[in-house]
Assembly symmetry: C2
Homo-oligomer: 273 residues x 2
Amino acid sequence: MTVTRPVFYVSDGTGITAETVGHSLLTQFTGFSFVTDRLPFVDDDDKAQDAAVRIRAAGERYGVRPIVISSCVDTSLGRLLEESGALVLDVFAPFISPLEQELNAARHSKVGQAHGMVDFDTYHRRINAMNFALSHDDGIAVNYDEADVVLVAVSRAGKTPTCIYLALHYGIRAANYPLTDEDLESDRLPPRLRPYRNKLFGLTIDPERLQQIRQERRANSRYASIETCRREVAAAETMFRMERIPTLSTTHTSIEEISSKVMGTLGLQREMY
Amino acid sequence: MTVTRPVFYVSDGTGITAETVGHSLLTQFTGFSFVTDRLPFVDDDDKAQDAAVRIRAAGERYGVRPIVISSCVDTSLGRLLEESGALVLDVFAPFISPLEQELNAARHSKVGQAHGMVDFDTYHRRINAMNFALSHDDGIAVNYDEADVVLVAVSRAGKTPTCIYLALHYGIRAANYPLTDEDLESDRLPPRLRPYRNKLFGLTIDPERLQQIRQERRANSRYASIETCRREVAAAETMFRMERIPTLSTTHTSIEEISSKVMGTLGLQREMY
């Protein structure tokens, strides 16, 4: 029987950094059962002491030493967390001293910086990109001039979540073009897309998976039939090949992976929010 | 004059973990100028050697030693990266041995796990939450029964990006309720929201900031006037106070921070995607 091990992501900010690293570390240990809890905004001694009490209690409840992944910038908070008896892993500590040496400067330990508010302009770019993605999601009456990327695919192949991810995390203005039946009758690009060839990226998907997704949306429709899915996917793939549009299958690919590959292929270098 | 220092986020997967940690580390060193580059999907020796060549070239171009933040799980790839001459910081290495000791097990070094595709059900929950957020964004004809959270605010106070973030990263079904003029004439909750009191979270914002945002959307309209913004914000805040709805100001708060506080306040514990 596997023992359930309590894991806490503790941070002086949102906890996103701690959880991102912690999740990556835990995925490297298979066969364990972890129960995770997020303790964000732990930014003073009192909150760190409260956190330590909760962590200690979890250890007693589960009968096993808890693991704490901490991204508290103030190292004295980390010491308070250690009073819980947990294994405390500080995600920054090992890197501070090599960086200080390399940069010949002391770090500036302001808490909760990483996912906090940046300046108004940066925030604005991000929100504008998101509004762009939301209002350019149906391919109707869209002016692709302003788009950084246009994702082309049949319905339900993964365009919308990818566009939104690109906007939200990279401020990229991502638009959609859903291929219509009429488009798919030809092997060539729809005329509206031709001026934007260098912004196009095609998404494809296994017809069986597409059927499963469409079935959830409109059960037992012609739209969701395996024949329709096979025909549409084959026609789209032919078009992408004939027109040399870079393409990726979304079947076994996460939204993060698709986004990363789209940016890499089209040469879009943006900092992550 | 500040020297521009090239920084590379290198990963066998998307690079999100490397960039998240790297960004957090770099924000602790103020007054430096960093130019960052993402090298994702470096998952074999050839790609690692190519990456090392690019990194070395950047060091020569900028005349300064590059910094590499690596999340390659395979440690032999990390050694190849070191041939670039850069300072290579491996975001996992310092934590593997303490975790192996604590768990009494060796880690399983499969590459590119953290932000790769998970199982179909998990993916589906995520996409469904996102579709829920997108289709429940205008407060019209919405059935709040299925929502995990309902964000209540005046127009342009930050509801939409927060809903989408909650859906995309935590699979939370987040709906919006935009307060109308009619709603704001009363100090009490709109009747439609009353059955969902324990799911409600109010967002507020400084009227000056709201005016700035609305001005971009509909310049010189009554909607964007400072008088309208002041009146609406004051009325919404009074309602939240009278009805004891938990509230947060979005003025100096990032989407990540708002999401984290909403989840904490409403007791929504979900693993991050």
